[in-house]
Every structure is written in structure tokens, then in C-alpha cells.
């Protein structure tokens, strides 16, 4: 199974898109820009909704109004982040796949956080009462914390690079 995964990573590194980023003198920062722009939209809109559900900060809009206003760009942000992340992965897939921080980030933290995000987004309307249910606040707090953990795992990836892993 693991061999299959490594073979896949080798293949993805040999694809035309990975090779053209690797050989380009200017593309890499723009790929990073893509990933970070998407992440900003995603994290920014998620945090705005989670904090509103938690009831901290201004309350000019209800959670469901806010959720509705943010919905489209929330998922556009996710799409952009995934695209940028996929390209970043493509250029050094075989290095990432053996990195424990990356494995935890992609295999555990992101699926969990994403699942919780979908629950929060779908439930925002039902939770829209004067007294926000405790479960809702816990879900909002947990989502925010999980995305913070995702960012932490991402920052820790280079800390686990072995010799020769740096591009």
C-alpha cells in the first residue's frame, strides 16, 4: 500500500505541471501566493463565523446571515487553497509523504476540521436563537482550534525535514 503511495508521489512529481514549476525561475512564489490567498479567505471567513457563533465581538448580523453572506467565498477560498496546496505537494510529493507533520495535517487534522466546518455551516441556521446552544459554541471553538492546529502542523513540516529534504 505504502509502495503504491510512493509510486504515486513519484508520478506526480514527474507531471508536466510539477516539472514546469520546478524549472521555472518565477513560478514558486506565485504558487505559494495561491495557497496563502485561498487559506486567508478560508480561515478568515471561518473565523468570522465561528467567533460570531461563540458570541464574542460585534453582533451586527446573526450567525445565519453571516454564514449566508460568506458561504460562496468561503468555498472559493477552500478551492484556491486546495489548488495551491496540490501544486506545492506535486513538486516535492516524495518528501512530504514521509513527513510526520504533513501526514498528521492532511490525514487527521484537515479531515476533522473540514467535517466540523460542514456541521457548523449546516447548523448555523438552526442555532440562530437569542441564546446560542452550548453545543454550538463548543463546535465553533473546536473548529477554530482545529484550524489553528492545521496551521501549526503546516509550520512544523520543515522541522521534520531530514538531510537532503530541503528543495
Amino acid at each position: 500500500m505504502y509502495e503504491l503511495l510512493v509510486a504515486f508521489c513519484r508520478w506526480i512529481q514527474s507531471t508536466w505541471w510539477a516539472q514546469s514549476i520546478l524549472t521555472s525561475s518565477w513560478a514558486f512564489p506565485y504558487v505559494q501566493l495561491t495557497h496563502f490567498t485561498g487559506l486567508s479567505l478560508w480561515i478568515g471567513t471561518n473565523a468570522l463565523l465561528d467567533l460570531r457563533i461563540l458570541g464574542v465581538g460585534k453582533r451586527r448580523q446573526t450567525a445565519s446571515q453571516l454564514s449566508e453572506a460568506l458561504f460562496v467565498w468561503n468555498w472559493i477560498g477552500f478551492g484556491i487553497a486546495v489548488l495551491g496546496g496540490f501544486l506545492l505537494f506535486s513538486i516535492s510529493a516524495t518528501i512530504y509523504i514521509k513527513n510526520p507533520a504533513f501526514r498528521i495535517k492532511l490525514g487527521v487534522l484537515i479531515p476533522l476540521a473540514l467535517l466540523l466546518h460542514i456541521v457548523v455551516q449546516r447548523k448555523a441556521r438552526a442555532w440562530d436563537r437569542e441564546d446560542t446552544p452550548v453545543a454550538a459554541k463548543l463546535a465553533g471553538l473546536a473548529e477554530l482550534t482545529l484550524w489553528f492546529c492545521v496551521a501549526s502542523a503546516a509550520v512544523l513540516i520543515p522541522y521534520f525535514f531530514g538531510p537532503g529534504d530541503l528543495p
Binding site: 512564489p29 496563502f36 478568515g44 471567513t45 453571516l66 467565498w73 512544523l156
Partner: protein, 161 residues
């Protein structure tokens, strides 16, 4: 003068302690990334709303009021964590032109952010958001994306981060 000040800063025991501990550097990095995601993402959604391409059923002024306290909070965290990381290698950054440009772009973007916050309630009235406001919002968005681009170039060039 500045060189001397930066040398002092770099030698400060707190700054040295925070930058030499692997855990502290990781924490600084996480705080820096996460808070700038919050800043850029929230500013972007307000700008996109003013430009008329996001959440048009809701009022731009209300969205801005909801977002701006968090934007400024996030900016404080990003600036603080950024400052500590900068201070650890202050004398190297003194001559790093990409870093200077990054600071300039962030300063401009902050001014545009404050402009949007100040004017959004005036813009958000019938018959609709004026074209001038949309230009301000667009420039604000472009500046923040520029700040990210400058930011990703800083570690790539100095070999830190």
C-alpha cells in the same frame, strides 16, 4: 544610528531567547501565519462585498462592522510576532530590499483598510456603492495580496523561516 539600534535589539536577551528556542520560533511562526490569514481573509471578504461580488443580500457596512475589530486584533498579533522574528535578525533585514518593500506594502494596505472602515457606512447607501469605493476596495485587496507575495519572498531570499 539605525544599525546600532538594530544591533542592540538583536542582542536583547528576550529577543535572543525567543528566536533561539525551536518551540518559540514555531509558535511565533504559527501566530504570524494564522493571524495574517485572519487579517487578509476578513479584509478580502469586506472588499469583495464592497466591489459587489460577495454576499450582496447583506449590508456591506454591517459586514465591515462585524469584521474590522477582528482585523485589527489579528493585525496586532501579526505585527507583534513579525516584529519578534524580525528583531532576531534585525541587522540582516536592514539591508533587505524585499523586506523593506513588504513593510511599505503592508503600511499602504493598512491605510487602505482604515479608509474602507472609515467610509463604508457612507458608501453603503442608496442608490448603491459608488465606483470610487469599488476602486478603493480593489486596491486594498490587491495590496494585501501583494503583501503576501512580498512575504513569501522574504524567507526564500534570506534563507530563514
Amino acid at each position: 544610528m539605525l544599525q546600532h539600534f538594530f544591533e542592540q535589539l538583536q542582542a536583547n536577551s528576550w529577543i535572543v531567547a525567543m528566536n533561539t528556542s525551536a518551540w518559540m520560533s514555531a509558535v511565533l511562526e504559527v501566530v504570524h501565519y494564522f493571524s495574517f490569514f485572519v487579517v487578509v481573509g476578513m479584509i478580502a471578504i469586506v472588499d469583495l462585498r464592497i466591489m459587489g461580488v460577495a454576499g450582496r443580500k447583506q449590508s456591506a457596512a454591517q459586514l465591515a462592522e462585524q469584521a474590522f475589530p477582528w482585523i485589527w486584533t489579528g493585525l496586532c498579533f501579526a505585527v507583534f510576532s513579525g516584529f519578534v522574528m524580525f528583531a532576531g535578525q534585525a541587522t540582516e533585514y536592514l539591508h533587505n530590499s524585499i523586506f523593506h518593500r513588504k513593510l511599505l506594502v503592508i503600511l499602504l494596505a493598512t491605510v487602505f483598510g482604515a479608509w474602507v472602515q472609515h467610509s463604508v457606512s457612507k458608501w453603503d447607501r442608496p442608490p448603491g456603492v459608488p465606483a470610487r469605493a469599488k476602486i478603493v476596495a480593489f486596491v486594498s485587496l490587491a495590496l494585501w495580496l501583494g503583501a503576501i507575495l512580498m512575504g513569501v519572498d522574504v524567507p526564500a531570499i534570506t534563507g530563514v523561516g
